[in-house]
Symmetry: C2
Subunit: 419 residues, 2 copies
Amino acid sequence: MAVVSAAARSWVRGADRSGFGLGHLPYGSFLDGAGGGARLGVRIGEFVCDLAASVDAGALGGLSDAENAALRSPNLNALMALGRPAWRSVRACVKRALGDGERSDRSAVLLAVDEVKIALPFTPADYIDGYASREHTEHLGQLFRPDEDPLPANWLHLPVGYHGRAGTVVVSGTEIIRPRGQSSPDNGDPPPFGPTAKLDIEVELGFINALDTPLGFSVPVRAVGEHIFGIVLVNDWSARDIQSWEYRPLGPFLGKSFATSIAAWVTPIDAVEHLRVHGPKQDPPVLDYLTRTEPWNFDLQIQVWLTPSGGQSELISTTNPKNLYWDAAQQLAHATINGAALRTGDMHATGTISGTAHRTEGSLIELTRDGQQPLSLNDGAQRTYLQDGDNVRLTATALDAHGQPLTLGPVEGTIKPPS
Amino acid sequence: MAVVSAAARSWVRGADRSGFGLGHLPYGSFLDGAGGGARLGVRIGEFVCDLAASVDAGALGGLSDAENAALRSPNLNALMALGRPAWRSVRACVKRALGDGERSDRSAVLLAVDEVKIALPFTPADYIDGYASREHTEHLGQLFRPDEDPLPANWLHLPVGYHGRAGTVVVSGTEIIRPRGQSSPDNGDPPPFGPTAKLDIEVELGFINALDTPLGFSVPVRAVGEHIFGIVLVNDWSARDIQSWEYRPLGPFLGKSFATSIAAWVTPIDAVEHLRVHGPKQDPPVLDYLTRTEPWNFDLQIQVWLTPSGGQSELISTTNPKNLYWDAAQQLAHATINGAALRTGDMHATGTISGTAHRTEGSLIELTRDGQQPLSLNDGAQRTYLQDGDNVRLTATALDAHGQPLTLGPVEGTIKPPS
């Protein structure tokens, strides 16, 4: 077993190789059950570092008043709004406090992550969902619009996106209630109505915008690093039968708006700088305002785990956002090229991340070809779409800058029938 | 001139026939320039009744602690969240305080509306835009999809909608910066890029949702009156060239997200109960969850005024939401049939309100047939789409329950070039 370098070592038991070591330090919001409100925390191993309590304990010295106030707030919004210099100074301070170095007095206040209640890590403002994977776009085009070119005419020229429902962005672990709705009728009949028969997942990566911008301001591709605080795993639950009936001409609505799950822990960009890679060459060339300057894709092994009610968890897909055609910077530059203002807590997500090969698709509609090729599970059962009681868990792994494991906060949810 | 009945008379000078008399009493948020934060107010004539100051002055006696706290908050959100009994009790109390009856001691605190700065009347949560006008839908289908049936296959079965950008909902008077973006290329060329050449309006009515609901809850049509606090005029600015290039397959995005203007004053449903009318008969019959129980269209004369830079204001269209195919209750019931949670401050708007006859359309793309039939203005100029310096103002008039004029808060904006 490799020796953990001193710079990467935490004094917190089990943290170094847990995926939540000193090179990671993602932020979340929690309640401790003692009746107070939500508080900001940092995940370290199987613990949450209570930032307000750690400030009070003197474990996080040297921060400004504004930074201390942000660490005493209920979630990430206040810290994000302070901007990148504050993010870096707070991160360095937390790293010192949790590191096994001379300057740590081990006075940081830790709580077992299993003993706190997890809340949304930030207050979602607007939520934009993208369509950045060429493979996913082509797969869905083939299924939804078999008579047309699977790639829409605009797709190679702009990162297609739309607004999702921010009010139903929920934290990992929230139960997902199977939505009801209309689906396509047979000719002349009224539309069938009932619980969706095609409840699906969408494996995505979300980017959290930190700063307010004024109306009329466009974020240039080169400045996106000042605006994006961090990343989260996203599962954008989808009801395919509702979606395919409703979406023309104004786009997805009720087929998506019932729930979008995000991880409890926001990974700062500073923890994953070394995982940034360029996307594939773009042909035809994109317009100037979309021209890449830095790598803004992320090399992460994302795994999709399905656990039937009472059954074993099994891996049904493995995918990676490194090959997305449109990167996070292009998405944000595009979303603001019209002068749309941003707010702290805006999230934009990649859209479904799919590869070319079977079992690299980021949705069941692709994995099963809209149910025509069911997945065979280990216990002999089959799956087209999700059944009540199914749990879906997305995980993502990489190595941190010190070579230790880094695991993004997982996102999971279990399907419940409508009441 | 008709005599104003005693029950309808206000002691505030000029209020009775101003459109903002005792039968109206819409809410807004304002700053007085003295450096404090935004405060909640009620419009009466050319004045704002400062609710916090009026509570302090003893002008609004008999309210509960929660109601008093809501009146001391910066905008409508807190009052809306208290629910309909509180809305009615506060309204009755304000009516007494501003009425010319025995129980008014004229101690309510008034400020001239011209001397305060107006803010958004509520904090927008999510914003849903509809497509409720059959005439508008058919007009746009003919222009955008000339080879297809102008009415999409789903349109008669469900109130089509999508999520707009809540973070760019702005209050009346906010300058509208002409958005830049891509538009459709000629075959093989890169997409043209620049300020939109087709900047348009969309005349809409917005409905403000008052209450949080849990995930999995659907608002029944019959209960919508418990959830909708009030109405506002909306101008959903649109860039038609950007929109027509980007919208397939996920719907409008940058063609809309740069700005949506709403009136400064929210008219409570209680002030316009008598204006509620049934929409047209629906054929084919709608599904049970969409079946109307009460009238939820509103009979209001909406006028669209265009003022070129330095020129005279002129009326370019007159329309009425009373004939919308889908009503406000059906829209809200549909938007939640999948269990999507609501939050205080959610807004859903009708979509563009158009009639059949020329000069009853709610957008320039319809009024000018996408610029092919320009409007001739009084000064001899012509308009296809909006020019820099143009001001657009929407007004809406009716009679209040006492037979006095009632004018919804107007919504206006002036076009500025991008910087």
